[in-house]
């Protein structure tokens, strides 16, 4: 039987985390949530009662996400260690979401598993596409470092070792096996999370696919005119970014 661990990355205050957990509780029992906390240590100690891990990886806390090549490696490793410490927790999949990517439907886990099965995939991401050999800014910035290409050549099980992927880092869905394989890979290079995670999963032999019809409500910048209600009407499962919780007044349970 499938069971999804919702791994939520947050750096927020206690009040905001309480609100976040309340929202998530409409589509997931609390025991299926693991909070990865990237904020201050003193705030971590005062968080509400929830399964949580503190992320002390300095590469999560960078001044400029893209130029400093922000990494979620610490998040992946901490969650993998937590899974290893809780063998009774029989999670088969991991859904990763940043705190400002919120679910809009109560049966998110079932929808994710259904889509993953339908795609025959190990990883689903938003906006997955190939950027190798293109004018993509992320690719051109990374390929300037000779270690980048050499790393993929060394670890890849694929015949074409030059393939580089990009996907949005705000939300992705993983089989437990793929998630743990990526977490256990020694992070030898500096690469931005949105390039590193999908490319590593691909070169380790996992099938990475796009969420396809689930792009309408997930964007790097706020989408003009899009509200939680209009996102639901568009059939979106999640929405990003929702920065101001004060403007969101309804919950996923209203979808029922």
């Amino acid at each position: 039987m499938s069971r999804v661990l919702n791994l939520i990355l947050s750096h927020q205050t206690r009040g905001e985390v309480e609100w976040l957990l309340k929202w998530w509780s409409h589509c997931s029992p609390l025991e299926n949530i693991l909070l990865a906390y990237g904020g201050a240590r003193e705030n971590f100690n005062s968080l509400p009662d929830v399964q949580r891990v503190f992320i002390d990886d300095p590469r999560l806390r960078v001044a400029h996400k893209q130029r400093d090549k922000q990494s979620y490696g610490g998040v992946w490793r901490a969650a993998a260690a937590w899974l290893a410490q809780h063998p009774q927790a029989d999670f088969t999949h991991v859904y990763f979401a940043e705190c400002d990517q919120l679910p809009l439907i109560p049966d998110l886990a079932n929808r994710l598993i259904g889509r993953l099965t339908q795609e025959g995939a190990d990883v689903l991401g938003h906006g997955v596409h190939r950027i190798d050999g293109t004018s993509n800014s992320y690719y051109l910035y990374h390929i300037h470092d000779p270690c980048f290409e050499a790393f993929w050549r060394r670890i890849s099980v694929r015949s074409d070792k030059q393939v580089v992927f990009w996907m949005m880092g705000t939300g992705s869905f993983w089989t437990r096996r793929a998630f743990l394989a990526v977490a256990s890979q020694h992070e030898e290079i500096k690469a931005y999370v949105e390039v590193y995670l999908p490319t590593l999963a691909h070169h380790l032999g996992f099938r990475v696919r796009d969420f396809r019809d689930q792009h309408g409500c997930v964007s790097g910048d706020p989408l003009r005119g899009l509200s939680v209600e209009s996102a639901r009407r568009k059939g979106c499962w999640t929405m990003h970014p929702i920065k101001d919780y004060g403007t969101v007044c309804s919950s996923p349970s209203r979808e029922k």
Binding site: G120, A121, D122, V128, H129, R130, I131, D132, G133, T134, S135, N136, S137, Y139, V157, R158, V163, F165, W166, R177, A178, A181, H202, L204, G205, F206, R207, V208, R209, D210
Partner: protein, 83 residues
């Protein structure tokens, strides 16, 4: 303030630029301003993942070639056995 100026500059580039069409399908795949610069071509525009490719020619010419763009197909790689 920096983001404001960035968006203004991008709007100007968008206005001055031209549509980029896939050399194979003719489909519009973006918009960019192309400027020859010191033996290279500057591609100005936001969020493009273009693969540069010379256009096949139906007529033999000595003096003219067309450099166009295409995109990678959607990633559809299989799960590797053993992964």
């Amino acid at each position: 303030m920096k983001m404001f100026f960035r968006s203004i500059v991008l709007r100007v580039i968008h206005w001055l630029g031209s549509d980029i069409h896939d050399v194979h399908t003719g489909q519009r795949i973006g918009r960019a301003l192309l400027i020859p610069w010191r033996g290279r071509v500057l591609v100005l525009g936001d969020g493009l993942a273009l693969v540069a490719q010379f256009h096949p020619q139906s007529r033999f010419t000595w003096w003219k070639r067309e450099l166009g763009f295409t995109r990678h197909p959607e990633p559809d790689f299989p799960h590797e056995p053993g992964a």
